[in-house]
């Protein structure tokens, strides 16, 4: 019992399928070129082998079985910080995530710091989820300012005072966070639990006020990856054609 022609179709298909996923991921990155706090995603393809039994039956140490998508990685490197002038736009300069309370009560984490003060006077994301720990401005607060250590200063009754302090979360393995859309993430066993701390302390990002962290997608990097994926796709297509020709030849033997 040796390798069948059918296995050849499987190998060529695995190459085509993995490249398709790769191209979809690149498109996703490109679509998020302007998304605040977005981290680019990269697929990790790995090689596959047939089972040990199959290899032994064919008298080989191993039989190849193509490729597959082994992992999806988020490249968490810092995005550029761009000044916006909006007082509640907060950018993180360094590692860490803002904590956000989802409508169902779970806590999610984000680096997209485009916040605003909602109707209840609380600091919230643009889609209305509260930032944790809750920040509420006292009535009559004026000239609000957020410093690099996350302290929110405001002038209340003619006196400047600290009205709240932001806390951010960091993770042993931020790549392990699970994306839930809207650029927000949940902690998982892979990421480890959130470790809370004050911005600007060792290991935690500083807050840059009136600024946003831009997406870390690099247009030229993605464009090159797209060309490489397309090239690899057509090469796998060529192998599929050769496989098909081999199959036809084998079938003709029956005639």
């Amino acid at each position: 019992m040796s390798l069948t022609i059918g296995a050849l179709y499987g190998i060529a298909y695995s190459g085509l399928h993995t490249r398709e996923l790769e191209m979809a991921t690149i498109s996703h990155n490109l679509a998020n070129l302007q998304t605040v706090g977005y981290k680019r995603v990269q697929l990790v393809a790995q090689d596959l082998i047939a089972s040990q039994e199959e290899a032994e039956a064919a008298g080989e140490r191993w039989l190849p079985a193509g490729t597959y998508l082994a992992a999806t990685r988020r490249l968490t490197q810092q995005g550029a910080i761009e000044t916006t002038g909006n007082p509640w736009d907060l950018a993180l300069d360094g590692p860490g995530y803002f904590q956000v309370q989802e409508p169902d009560g779970t806590i999610s984490y984000t680096r997209a710091g485009a916040f605003h003060i909602n109707g209840d006077g609380r600091l919230a994301t643009l889609d209305g989820a509260s930032v944790l720990p809750p920040v509420t401005l006292p009535v009559g607060a004026q000239d609000v300012y957020v410093d690099r250590r996350g302290r929110i200063l405001a002038e209340v009754n003619g006196q400047v005072q600290v009205v709240a302090t932001l806390q951010i979360a960091r993770f042993a393995n931020p790549e392990g966070l699970q994306m839930i859309g809207a650029n927000r993430f949940l902690a998982t066993a892979a990421s480890g639990p959130a470790q809370l701390g004050q911005p600007g302390t060792p290991g935690y990002a500083e807050i840059v006020t009136q600024a946003l962290e831009k997406s870390n997608v690099d247009l030229s990097v993605e464009a090159i990856a797209m060309v490489a994926a397309q090239r690899a796709y057509s090469l796998n297509l060529r192998m599929l054609q050769i496989t098909d020709r081999l199959h036809t030849l084998a079938l003709e033997l029956r005639a």
Partner: protein
């Protein structure tokens, strides 16, 4: 004549397997640090053929050698260096030179050149499967902070020495068996002598697949398969005619 059929059929089977390895090369064009297989088909022991009756004492002259088809040479794993590419992951490590990273997997110790590493929840240096990477003193636990890896494989975090990567080398490609996921099972690993390889931080090794060589081999294999198929049909027709003769003779 039947002997010819077996020779051709064996070649055709080998060509399918050759094609599998070539397709696999191109399927893994974007697999980090993938090592290609470029099998070389070699003829199986030629046998001298003499005319029928020669063995009965007649002074028949030998007809010539008859091959028994082809098989793939053994040393087909190409361990040559793949191109290095800069990568945004600060824990992406590439080996420039000979050697393999050692990783601890549930199936036992494995060897890889794919150094697109990360941290797990406990802070250990892991590969993209989550297997722990081995240093000279076992798995490497990284404290929080910026990691610096020097070309000799020493790892520093925030200025403090954490450990040194242990690279393994092997006698040759025959000591390595592909295990999938960029991993190899290795026989008799030896510690890499110092200076044989440099570790580059922020780089990954791309696959070493030679697209042109793979395509040319694949096209040659297809033509050989086509020729073999015709030979097989021809010999089958001849056998058929012989049987017709036997029937009416």
């Amino acid at each position: 004549m039947i002997r010819g059929v077996y020779a051709v059929a064996a070649s055709m089977r080998e060509l399918i397997e050759l094609q599998a390895r070539l397709s696999n090369n191109l399927a893994n064009l974007n697999t980090p640090a993938f090592k290609q297989e470029l099998p070389i088909l070699t003829p199986i022991g030629d046998q001298e053929i003499a005319p029928v009756g020669a063995q009965l004492g007649a002074t028949g002259q030998a007809i010539g050698p008859l091959g028994f088809g082809v098989y793939q040479g053994e040393d087909r794993l190409d361990l040559s260096q793949g191109p290095l590419e800069a990568h945004d992951n600060p824990l992406a490590l590439a080996i420039n030179g000979e050697g393999f990273f050692r990783v601890q997997t549930p199936e036992g110790e494995r060897f890889t050149r794919d150094g697109n590493f990360g941290r797990d929840a406990a802070g250990y240096l892991v590969n993209s499967r989550g297997d722990r990477v081995l240093g000279e003193a076992g798995p490497i636990q990284l404290p929080e902070g910026d990691v610096t890896v020097t070309p000799d494989g020493s790892i520093w975090v925030a200025g403090a020495f954490v450990g040194r990567l242990a690279l393994a080398t092997f006698a040759g490609p025959e000591a390595l068996t592909r295990a999938g996921d960029g991993l190899f099972v290795g026989e008799n690993p030896q510690p890499a002598p110092p200076g044989q390889a440099r570790i580059l931080q922020g780089y990954i090794e791309r696959s070493n697949v030679d697209v042109a060589a793979t395509l040319i081999l694949a096209m040659t294999a297809l033509k050989t398969y086509e020729a073999s198929q015709r030979m097989l049909k021809m010999q089958d027709e001849q056998t058929g005619r012989l049987m017709d003769l036997a029937r009416f003779g």
